[in-house]
């Protein structure tokens, strides 16, 4: 079942450029430049791209904050801007950089206020809150004013706040930005569990690709307002030729004639005492076996391709 649908979605911004002392010229800059995307119920989609690629703009069009310049968008079968308040009940939004909690009130009061705003039946509210309290470990700071919470605590509060009305879709705009390692783990763990139920569709933007690796089967990369990749992380590796590497420390350098079938020598360091091979068709086992017979191997390691590198290449490719 389709939950989110974008058809040739566009958003232009007018930028005024100063020309001369008083004159200004209006120039339109496309922030989102024709995106086609369909997300099914229960999917977890990572939406990434460099700064200014149009990630937040897309999210704002999906949540009813911004009106598209052209194209069509539906979320839960609704058109976001004209049907804003109906849609608001069915989606949850977490902005990493802004808060929807009441700054000066104890955290639990924000949750109560949201119950009234969304008119959630008390029993449903209590059940959802109880679940978040245990999974996100909210109890130690439930009575603390939000302004005194650490960023990690606040973000756990924000995620809870976005879920209390039982949304079908959860949009997260950089939910792990600025968090320490432990808080990131807590947030990711919770979202993974949420996604595993299959009831909630999740779409998140991030600059931390570990979020994607941990959470999202599907990765959408946008750049300059276009989708440049839509598929799994493995697809991305396959498409951009990222390979595993075998790194070996040797007691003596390899014979010059040595060649490893299905792999290429990528680097030789420390006077030939450290070599690394890029594995193409060879399996790790084959490569290790061949290497062991050819040279005195002291240590071996297998390096997985780094998604950061792939994405960095993707961003700079254009």
């Amino acid at each position: 079942m389709t939950v989110i649908e974008m058809r040739d979605l566009r958003k232009d911004f007018a930028v005024r450029v100063r020309v001369g002392r008083f004159r200004r010229r209006k120039r339109t800059v496309p922030a989102v430049d024709g995106i086609d995307l369909t997300v099914d119920r229960g999917e977890m989609v990572g939406y990434i791209g460099p700064n200014g690629a149009g990630k937040s703009t897309t999210l704002k069009m999906l949540t009813g904050i911004l009106t598209p310049s052209a194209g069509a968008v539906t979320v839960c079968g609704l058109t976001p801007v004209p049907q804003r308040t109906r849609l608001a009940r069915r989606i949850g939004v977490v902005f990493g950089q802004r808060s929807q909690l009441w700054w000066d009130l104890p955290l639990h009061e924000s949750f109560t206020l949201l119950r009234h705003i969304y008119r959630v039946p008390p029993a449903d509210h209590a059940a959802r809150l109880a679940r978040c309290r245990s999974l996100l470990d909210l109890d130690p700071f439930l009575d603390t004013p939000v302004r005194q919470l650490s960023l990690g605590q606040r973000m756990r509060g924000e995620i809870t706040a976005a879920l209390l009305h039982g949304p079908e879709v959860l949009f997260l705009d950089e939910p792990t930005i600025g968090l320490d390692v432990v808080s990131k783990q807590a947030v990711r763990g919770f979202l993974a569990e949420l996604g595993a139920t299959g009831d909630v569709t999740l779409m998140l933007t991030t600059h931390d690709l570990a979020d994607i690796e941990r959470l999202c089967r599907r990765l959408v990369v946008i750049d300059h307002g276009h989708v440049v990749h839509d598929g799994t992380i493995e697809d991305l590796h396959a498409r951009y030729g990222s390979r595993r590497r075998l790194v070996a420390d040797l007691d003596a350098p390899l014979p010059a004639s040595f060649a490893l079938a299905g792999a290429t020598l990528a680097a030789t360091e420390a006077d030939g005492h450290r070599v690394s091979f890029t594995l193409e068709s060879a399996t790790a086992a084959e490569a290790v076996a061949a290497l062991m017979t050819a040279a005195p191997v002291r240590d071996l390691s297998l390096v997985e391709p780094d998604i950061e590198d792939v994405v960095a290449r993707l961003y700079t490719a254009r």
Binding site: F13, A14, T57, K60, T63, G64, I65, L66, T67, S69, V81, R84, T85, R86, A88, R89, I91, V93, F95, Q97, R98, S99, Q100, W102, W103, D104, L105, E109, T112, L113, H116, I117, Y118, R119, P145
Partner: protein, 267 residues
């Protein structure tokens, strides 16, 4: 509808609890805000002085105009005045947060930033109005009683509309703050005095074209049973609710257009 009203009431409650969490600054600000009423009224006292007439009005009569204007403005400033923080809301992202909630944007903003510290000012303005009413020895009829109650409420709606209109400018023009103040605070100052004290062109624009003359001056004339030295008929005193509703309708349109503009620029 009742459910929605309850949601807004809870928002107001949350705002109240937020404010009183800073007890001392709440008290200090409440007192300093009330002083503005004292200042407004003392300028009237100085200008009109005992026994002196300005523009054909005695001190007591002028005080009635000032009192009506003051209650209307204080109410509007309390309930709607903080809408002029719109720029801050846009910058802090509160505007986005509000747009993803299932309630109206303007009402949400007003409820979430209701300045309770301005309450004392409404009370003080009410005291001034009560004193002015006593001093004037009015000839009470049922219509005048209704008029005395309705005028401050119409003033609330009218000034509220002016606040919303001037704030809406910020959707197009981020640096519009001071232009808006000319109409909000300037409008309050204008309505504090009887209209005949102003130059003809000035009152043509402010009193009649923009409607500020109907906030306090015309109803005061009717309450006093005086004929308008500027020639408007007696029933003009009852026009204030109508003028207020027209202003509110214009303000509602401006706000909607502003929100639409915000959503198409995302600034």
């Amino acid at each position: 509808m009742g459910d929605q009203a309850r949601a807004y009431a809870h928002l107001i409650g949350g705002q109240f609890r937020s404010m009183v969490s800073y007890r001392l600054s709440f008290l200090v600000e409440m007192i300093s805000h009330s002083l503005t009423v004292v200042l407004d009224i003392s300028t009237v006292l100085v200008l009109f002085g005992a026994g002196r007439r300005v523009g054909g009005f005695t001190l007591e009569e002028a005080l009635l105009v000032a009192g009506l204007s003051s209650v209307g403005f204080a109410l509007a400033d309390l309930l709607v005045g903080n809408v002029d923080h719109l720029k801050t809301y846009v910058r802090s992202g509160l505007m986005d947060v509000i747009l993803v909630r299932p309630l109206g944007s303007l009402w949400q903003l007003l409820c979430m930033d209701l300045p309770f510290r301005k309450v004392l000012r409404v009370v003080l303005a009410g005291v001034v109005l009560a004193i002015a009413v006593r001093l004037n020895d009015l000839d009470w009829t049922p219509a005048r009683v209704v008029l005395l109650v309705v005028t401050p409420l119409a003033g609330l709606v009218f000034f509220g509309a002016i606040f919303v209109l001037s704030a809406s400018l910020a959707f197009w023009w981020v640096d519009s703050g001071e232009i808006g103040s000319a109409f909000t605070y300037g409008g309050r100052d204008f309505t504090t005095y009887p209209v005949p004290v102003y130059a003809a062109w000035f009152r043509a624009v402010f009193a009649y074209a923009l409607g500020f003359g109907f906030v306090a001056y015309q109803p005061a004339l009717t309450l006093l049973g005086r004929t308008d030295p500027l020639g408007l008929p007696a029933w003009a005193g009852y026009l204030s609710p109508l003028v207020a509703l027209v202003a509110a309708a214009v303000a509602a349109l401006a706000w909607r257009a502003g929100i639409r503009h915000y959503r198409s620029t995302g600034s």
